[in-house]
């Protein structure tokens, strides 16, 4: 038996046998909401924006080793792999959060990997890390502060929130974060709403003064804990940046989505990239086998 709950109401209860996944998805999100994100066509001119060379980081338990790839302007590079194969480290190292043991990350000709006490350039990189509660929000602070956290160092000395409250409300509405209360503490949100909150911050949810299109967008499991329609909404925003010319690094466990939306797929296994495959040549079996470590 399968029971479908939607917004606190029992929608349907029927036998699991004979139930198709599309029918289940329709029940879960409601007929009208099911809209798949458009696939962004691969860029024709391959001008590399992001170059990663020989990147190594981590310790004996979790490491990445000699990672190298490039992402062109407007390109979506998907990283496939069973989680726990170094995805979090890779994302942190490329985002410039942790200091790599070796290698470099070049965005538009300038190194952005971390060398000193502070992240090299957080303004041109949008980053949705894995496990947002630990990695992406200040749990004790409210949603308004969390949405504006990347702008705090540019605030005036005497805090003036001004229009920030309204902007926060709009951003929460735009990304469907519930409850829509700017004063709610981030730690009180559910996992899915937290994920949406981080997306709202990193994918330009703030209407005024929102940054120019970031050079690089890194998304590590950006739809973890989201329902089908919310997932598609995040995809639309995330891949929308590719059509605006950002380089998109997208780490996912969902093979079907990777095969649909990524322009190239690199398979990460035990901290190394085993192979990078173009969209046209990618199929489930090859990538599935690579994810298990088969060369």
């Amino acid at each position: 038996m399968v029971a479908v709950l939607r917004q606190g109401r029992l929608i349907e209860e029927k036998a699991a046998e004979g139930l198709t996944s599309s029918e289940l998805a329709r029940l879960m999100v409601g007929e009208s909401n099911l809209r798949k994100a458009d696939r962004i066509p691969a860029p024709t001119a391959l001008k590399p924006r992001l170059e990663v060379q020989g990147l190594s980081a981590g310790d004996a338990f979790d490491s990445i080793e000699n990672i190298g790839f490039t992402i062109a302007a407007g390109e979506i590079l998907g990283i496939a792999g069973v989680s726990g194969n170094g995805q979090g480290l890779l994302a942190d190292a490329v985002a410039g959060l942790l200091r790599p043991a070796a290698g470099e990350v070049i965005l538009d000709g300038e190194p952005i990997h971390r060398e000193g006490a502070v992240r090299a350039d957080y303004r041109r990189v949008s980053y949705i890390p894995e496990r947002p509660l630990q990695n992406a929000v200040a749990a004790e602070l409210d949603l308004m502060v969390n949405l504006h956290v990347k702008k705090i160092t540019e605030f005036p000395f005497w805090l003036r929130w001004g229009s920030a409250q309204q902007n926060t409300e709009k951003a929460l509405e735009g990304f469907d974060v519930r409850p829509r209360d700017p004063r709610r503490k981030a730690g009180q949100l559910s996992g899915g709403n937290l994920q949406k909150l981080v997306s709202a911050r990193e994918l330009g949810g703030l209407p005024s003064g929102s940054p120019d299109v970031p050079g690089l967008v890194i998304a590590c499991y950006p739809t973890m804990g989201l329902d089908v329609s919310a997932t598609q909404a995040i995809y639309a925003k995330l891949f929308g940046y590719a059509s605006k010319g950002s380089a998109v690094l997208w780490i996912s466990e969902d093979l079907d989505d990777l095969l649909t939306y990524a322009h190239r797929i690199a398979v990460l296994f035990h901290g190394k990239i085993l192979r990078t495959i173009d969209h046209e040549n990618a199929d489930r079996n090859t990538i599935g086998a690579l994810m298990m470590g088969a060369e």
């Binding site: 502070v118 957080y122 990695n135 992406a136 929000v137 004790e140 956290v149 705090i152 605030f155 005497w158």
Partner: protein, 342 residues
């Protein structure tokens, strides 16, 4: 739920005070004393006449400074217990310069210079653990604790050795401070300007921590260092900054006590002010304004215990018990409120 939070806070504060009095009454009853009469005696001992009231404020001053010194680093999530060592360093460095002021230095130069030097001395004693924490991740609680011993021994070395005043006939203390380097006292009592400096700093720092960008950055860094760093904040820099600020505050306590109360540098000048201030800061939940009344109550208990020894024939250890009662009521109520979410 009232929509006037200050009203609710005041009601809880009164409730906490009543619980404290009830606990004290129960304890006095156990001792076989008349509880209300003894509480009255304590109140008289703390505030009954001009002498008691000013003595209470005299005890409050270093506690207030030290509480601020513990609260500022805690705003970044740092647990500094080095107030006593920083107190000694403030007294040490301040005295070093005071003893070298030219004889004719006027007070309006001598006093600010003395406070500045003492602040710098205390700041240095906070800065080193802060730097170690920021750079190599050494636990700041351990280093500040150990620095307390070094600070106390440094003052001992100075007053038993090179700075000992030969006119003291063997008594270990520095030569007396010149008049120009003594903080002004008021009401013909020992109440001195340090109290007002401490209150002004508490209010100023409260505004700084709650109304400015820097205060907000500290809150973000305390809540999630990784997020703060990914938003361009330099965690290590701010660790050093708050540790140095905390040190400077405790250092001011040291020089105020040395200059206004003792009039010379002596061994053991920090007494228990460091740890008492630390406790006050934690009772106040690091809230710089809530520190003010709690420091006053602590000062009152310490000051009244002297009177109690004389009139009620009770051991001075009664002050420690009453401090514990205060601790129990404040933290008990705060913990209960947190659990119940009221």
């Amino acid at each position: 739920m009232t929509n006037r939070p200050w009203l609710r806070e005041t009601a809880w504060a009164i409730g906490t005070a009543l619980l404290f009095l009830a606990l004290c009454a129960g304890f006095f009853l156990l001792l076989g004393k008349h509880p209300l009469e003894l509480i009255w005696q304590v109140a008289l001992g703390a505030f009954g006449d001009k002498y008691s009231a000013t003595e209470t404020l005299v005890k409050t001053t270093p506690i207030l400074f030290c509480a601020l010194a513990a609260a500022v680093p805690a705003r970044l999530g740092l647990l500094s217990v080095g107030q006593s060592g920083q107190f000694y360093l403030g007294a040490f460095v301040g005295t070093f310069f005071v003893l070298r002021f030219p004889a004719a230095t006027p007070a309006f130069i001598a006093l600010p210079a003395m406070l500045l030097c003492a602040g710098a001395g205390g700041a240095a004693w906070g800065l080193v653990p802060g730097f170690l924490r920021a750079r190599v991740g050494v636990n700041e609680t351990l280093t500040t604790l150990l620095f307390n011993y070094v600070g106390s021994l440094l003052v001992d070395w100075a007053v038993y050795g090179p700075w000992r005043d030969p006119n003291n006939l063997g008594w270990p203390a520095s030569p007396p401070f010149p008049e120009a380097a003594k903080l002004p006292s008021y009401l013909g009592s020992r109440l001195h300007a340090g109290l007002f400096i401490a209150i002004a700093l508490a209010v100023g720092l409260h505004v700084l921590l709650t109304r400015t960008r820097w205060g907000l950055m500290l809150r973000v860094m305390k809540s999630n260092r990784k997020v703060a760093e990914s938003a361009g904040m330099r965690y290590g820099l701010h660790v050093v900054a708050v540790m140095a600020m905390g040190g400077a505050l405790a250092g001011l306590a040291g020089i105020c006590e040395t200059s206004a109360i003792q009039g010379r540098l002596q061994s053991g000048v920090a007494a228990n002010y460091g740890i008492t201030g630390f406790l006050v800061a934690w009772m106040a939940g690091q809230h710089l304004i809530k520190i003010l009344p709690l420091a006053l109550v602590m000062g009152a208990i310490i000051s009244a215990s002297d009177a109690l020894q004389l009139f009620a024939e009770l051991p001075s250890a009664i002050a420690v018990v009453m401090q514990a009662m205060l601790f129990l009521s404040v933290l008990g109520i705060a913990g209960w409120r947190k659990r119940k979410g009221v």
